[in-house]
């Protein structure tokens, strides 16, 4: 079974992003870029499926300019077999990403598509679900356990009240939550090997997709700052403040 895994190039998890002074966008000059953490979990899950003999081939796809080949190579170093880049410029909205991925799905016909539940830049949490709707595939979002069983996949999902398990027909979409697995580190030999793996580049036109823009970023601004309060000396003082000053207990 073929598994397609989507990876996104985003600002590194440890970078504290700020709005530009003119509020036009966030300031991404000289900022470290990495593979989106949820996408890394998706790659790990796909590779584990291959190691378990369930998947036969793992294909990593990314949408973006040439720089995103770096994240595809990361996925290849983690164990994906080959890569696909869909070449786009600038920010691409989740709906368009989903359409482009649908184009790749039609070419590759994977049985399972694994994506991160959200990217840590836009925090949209949309692409996997949108791909599911466009491709007519079921989805197991926010997955913490994925079990392929014959012609179906069973996915345990992290929901607000606890866990929910659903059974999906294949082909299916899975989006990853944090506890699905702990991604491995790429070894140096694997990083070297990844450089030689096949990486195909498509344009949106190759996939029959027009890159449209539905949203305009009007401005960005820092969130309302919270002022630091006071330090209390004792539990007694804390209880007193909460009762008589804040009046919350």
């Amino acid at each position: 079974m073929k598994v397609l895994v989507a990876v996104k190039r985003v600002v590194d998890y440890n970078v504290k992003v700020r709005a530009k002074a003119d509020g036009s966008d966030v300031d991404l000059n000289n900022v470290k870029m990495s593979i989106n953490p949820f996408c890394e979990i998706a790659v790990e899950e796909a590779v584990r499926l291959k190691e378990a003999g369930v998947a036969t081939e793992v294909i990593a796809v990314s949408i973006g300019d040439k720089a995103c080949q770096e994240q595809i190579r990361t996925a290849l170093a983690l164990g994906a077999d080959r890569g696909i880049q869909v070449e786009t410029e600038g920010a691409v909205e989740p709906l368009v990403v989903a359409k482009l991925l649908k184009g790749v799905v039609e070419k590759e016909e994977p049985q399972l598509v694994i994506l991160g539940k959200q990217s840590i830049d836009g925090d949209n949490n949309q692409t996997g679900q949108m791909l599911g709707a466009l491709a007519g595939m079921p989805q197991g979002t926010f997955a913490s356990v994925v079990k392929v069983d014959g012609d179906r996949v069973q996915v345990t999902r992290e929901v607000d009240g606890g866990l929910q398990t659903v059974s999906l027909t294949l082909p299916a979409i899975v989006t990853t939550d944090l506890r699905l697995n702990e991604p491995r580190y790429a070894s140096l030999p694997n990083i070297m090997k990844a450089k030689k793996k096949q990486l195909d580049v498509y344009t949106p036109a190759d996939l029959g997709v027009e890159v449209t823009k539905h949203l305009t970023l009007v401005k960005v601004e820092p969130p309302a700052e919270r002022q630091a309060g006071i330090k209390v000396e004792s539990v007694d003082e804390l209880v007193d403040k909460l009762k008589n000053e804040a009046k919350v207990i």
Partner: protein, 309 residues
């Protein structure tokens, strides 16, 4: 035309986040209808009809809508959306699961996690884990929106008398089925709805020590939460996680115990009215957002606090 709010419910009662979603819908300025899709969901439909400001409640009662499976429910919502300008749901795990499918079926962008309505087509939403607030304007005539419940004060649950209309449409995509669920059993209020939340972090050292929070939570009527560090360390289950990748809470009182205050965690609780931090490290970033900070060993402070409440 108007706004369709997708209710979240357990067939019997409305999830409180629905009342926040209705409040957000009011900010859009159009007439509001509510969709209750489920199986045996008549009581939830009646509860929705009592919400003030709701014009009518559409009830789609069929086995295919049980457990709000996204594949089926999104087809229903997309069909009903033909009669509306806006489709709104709370950004709960259920809303996040279903609504992007609706948007894709309608070929429109979704605007996720809205925290403010600036105009009928312009919204504020947090990006980069809440480090930046973006204002976005959509060119789509039909808007699909999920709203962050804590950013909108809920409308009243009672006082309205909306008409109930039965929706006969049955959409079964035939792609997915419900297997089971394991919902956390607790007598405590739900994290996102609790007036008081007390959370533990890595400083709790292990899962057993979370029991130290129990007595205080009992006395305050609080829900118990945790930082991602505590979840990652395996102390407590993920459904207790407060933060950008967990639950967003904004209670009247938030007590952070043994939590350093990573950006990730702050994004999930910094809109709380009053924040208390108890941490033995006086330089912990949590103190920069806390109204009241107590530099102390939590293993001494917690029993003392419980005794004095």
């Amino acid at each position: 035309m108007g706004t369709l709010v997708v209710a979240e419910h357990d067939n019997a009662t409305l999830n409180p986040a629905t009342l926040n979603a209705v409040a957000a819908a009011q900010a859009l300025g159009a007439d509001i209808d509510v969709l209750v899709a489920g199986n045996g969901c008549g009581a939830a439909g009646e509860a929705a009809a009592k919400v003030p400001g709701v014009g009518k409640v559409l009830v789609a009662d069929n086995a295919v809508y049980e457990h709000a499976l996204a594949e089926n429910t999104s087809l229903l919502i997309a069909e009903l959306a033909a009669g509306y300008d806006n489709v709104v749901a709370a950004a709960t795990t259920s809303g996040k699961n279903i609504m992007p499918r609706v948007a894709a079926l309608l070929d429109v962008a979704q605007i996720s996690d809205v925290i403010a309505v600036e105009a009928a087509d312009t919204f504020k939403r947090p990006i980069y884990a809440g480090n930046v607030i973006a204002t976005v304007q959509t060119a789509d005539a039909k808007k699909v929106i999920t709203v962050r419940a804590t950013a909108f004060d809920p409308v009243a649950a009672e006082g309205g008398s909306a008409a109930i209309e039965v929706v006969d449409a049955v959409h079964d995509a035939g792609l997915s089925s419900f297997v089971g669920e394991e919902l956390a059993q607790s007598d405590r209020p739900e994290l996102t709805a609790a007036p008081v939340v007390i959370s533990g972090g890595r400083g709790m050292q292990n899962g057993d020590n979370f029991k130290l929070l129990d007595g205080i939570a009992d006395k305050l009527g609080a829900a118990i939460g945790a930082s991602r560090a505590a979840v990652d360390a395996g102390f407590v289950p993920n459904d207790m996680q407060v933060g950008q990748t967990g639950k967003i809470v904004a209670p009247d009182l938030y007590v952070a115990v043994g939590i350093s205050g990573a950006i990730q965690h702050l994004a999930g609780m910094k809109d709380s009215k009053v924040i208390v931090a108890i941490n033995k490290d006086e330089d912990a970033p949590i103190f920069q957002v806390a109204d009241y900070g107590l530099v102390a060993d939590l293993f001494e402070a917690l029993p003392e606090l419980e005794g004095k409440l």
